[in-house]
Amino acid sequence: MKRLTLRLGLLLVGFNLAVGLLTFFWTPHDPGAMIGGRLSPPSWTHWAGTDRLGRDFLSQVMVGARIALLVGAGATLLGGAVGISLGVLAAYARRGLDDAFAAALDILIAFPTLLLAMLVVAASETASLGTAILAIGLAMSAIIARLARILTKRVLAQDYVTAARCSGLSWARLTRTHVLPNILPTLAVALAAQFGLAVIAEASLSYLGLGAPPPNASWGTLLQQAQSTVHRAPIGVILPGLALVSLVLGINFLADGLRDLLDPEREGAE
């Protein structure tokens, strides 16, 4: 059963990744070119029909996979790097500083990710892939920092850490040899789950018109554009919707599989 979820996850994410990479070299048509009739139904030339402006719909959905993965991976990298660094540092900080940091994180986390992301996009005036990554990544870093801080504190409270510090272990080495190896498995699972949420957040931002502008349209933008014509051309909603679900589901399966693989409680396990 566990193997199955992992495999299914690999399959779904692998498929999206392959499509996303493919779009760098090839799409059925230029996703930005208005070459077909408006809202033409699926045909041999346009497998998924065309949108309101006569652009090939399948090509746009394929580009959407690239955008979703790019923003998701970028935000996860950013959120992971910033979150883990801040969280570990906070765990080492003096009591007062650490308390202030924890309170700041709690406040930040209380804001919905989407709201934070909207603020970042608003502050940077123009929306682009970069602002989406920045916005989602920063919101994610608060969640990851909180987790990293707690995990680090738990490691620091262990007797073997005290004993090692007593034998002259420096903070830098302590981080490298004991703290990071002990906190990373749990963080990796959390980051995988956050990756899935980031993909959804990107689609939501785009749906609200705060994502990357067309023609490099994200699934959220496609959904939004197809919304008003859903009765005449339901495929415009179905296709990006399915794509989004397949990627997020795949990522969540992967995260689950990862958790089983990297069970951090290796103690007693065999």
Binding site: T162, A163, S167, R266, E267, E270
Partner: protein, 268 residues
């Protein structure tokens, strides 16, 4: 000059006072027992001696390790001071080792640090030989297997021996043992105590032994400090304190230990 000189040590968590003005001293090669009920501040005192109190706790007063003040010293000054002077062994064998690292890798670290401190360089073979010797000194019979194992693959008693071997491999002058045998069964407890006794004698270490088990303290310590609610209520040579306790609290402790012993004997 004594190795450890504690004067009027106070420990606070914010406004709450946990230890109020404790003082004692420990010369090279001496063994001091710290006894008292749970929560009396024994572990806090032990940690403040090496400047490793949990964040949020503050020490005041004076702790001199080998003549150098520990209280209020910044971390970067303490790190080099600690390694060569003091080592600690704790109660819980499950927390004594990093669960994700092979025992060999963990043992190597303090030995390398010590070598660097002494300006020596150790090659892999010398390091391994030293680790095996250290394990043999704590009566571990298959050192090769233990070195290659993860902590969860060895027994609690063996883990505690490894922790002691690691502590001693720093060649400290003071060993702080915070209830090192409490979590072990009686037979293993006796073995570990014998082992500590022998190693301390052979290496001329000073020992601060923390326990609430009076018979155990009586076996290993020359002098005891009796703690109660953050205060030292009595101090003196072990034999004298246990034979003619001066403070009511000590008397109570001894009577309770006796009652427990009798109950155990009567029940078996």
């Amino acid at each position: 000059m004594s190795l450890l000189e504690v004067r009027d040590l106070k420990i606070r968590a914010g406004a709450r006072r946990l230890v109020h003005g404790v003082g004692f001293s420990l010369g090279a090669g001496e063994r001091l027992g710290l006894v008292g009920e749970s929560g009396s501040g024994k572990s806090l005192i032990a940690m403040s001696l090496v400047g490793l109190l949990a964040p949020g706790l503050r020490a005041e007063g004076s702790v001199k390790l080998d003549g150098r003040e520990v209280v209020g010293r910044p971390e970067r000054d303490l790190t080099p001071l600690r390694g060569s002077l003091a080592a600690v062994v704790f109660q819980d064998p499950r927390a004594a080792l990093d669960p994700l690292m092979r025992i060999g890798a963990q043992m190597a670290a303090p030995i390398r640090r010590r070598a660097r401190r002494e300006g020596l360089s150790l090659d892999a073979r010398a390091l391994k030989a030293e680790m095996i010797a250290a394990l043999e000194r704590v009566a571990i019979s298959e050192p090769e297997r233990i070195l290659a194992a993860f902590p969860h693959e060895v027994s609690g008693g063996q883990r505690q021996r490894v922790a002691i071997a690691m502590a001693l491999s720093c060649r400290p002058r003071l060993l702080i043992a915070d209830e090192p045998t409490t979590a072990l069964d009686v037979a293993t407890q006796a073995e570990i105590l014998d082992l500590l006794d022998r190693r301390i004698r052979e290496e001329g270490l000073a020992l601060l032994f923390i326990s609430h088990d009076l018979p155990v303290v009586a076996r290993i310590a020359d002098r005891v400090v009796v703690m109660r609610r953050g205060e030292a209520v009595e101090e003196g040579p072990t034999a004298r304190v246990f034979a003619r306790p001066e403070h009511d609290y000590t008397r109570g402790l001894i009577a309770a230990a006796r009652r427990l012993e009798q109950a155990l004997e009567g029940g078996s």
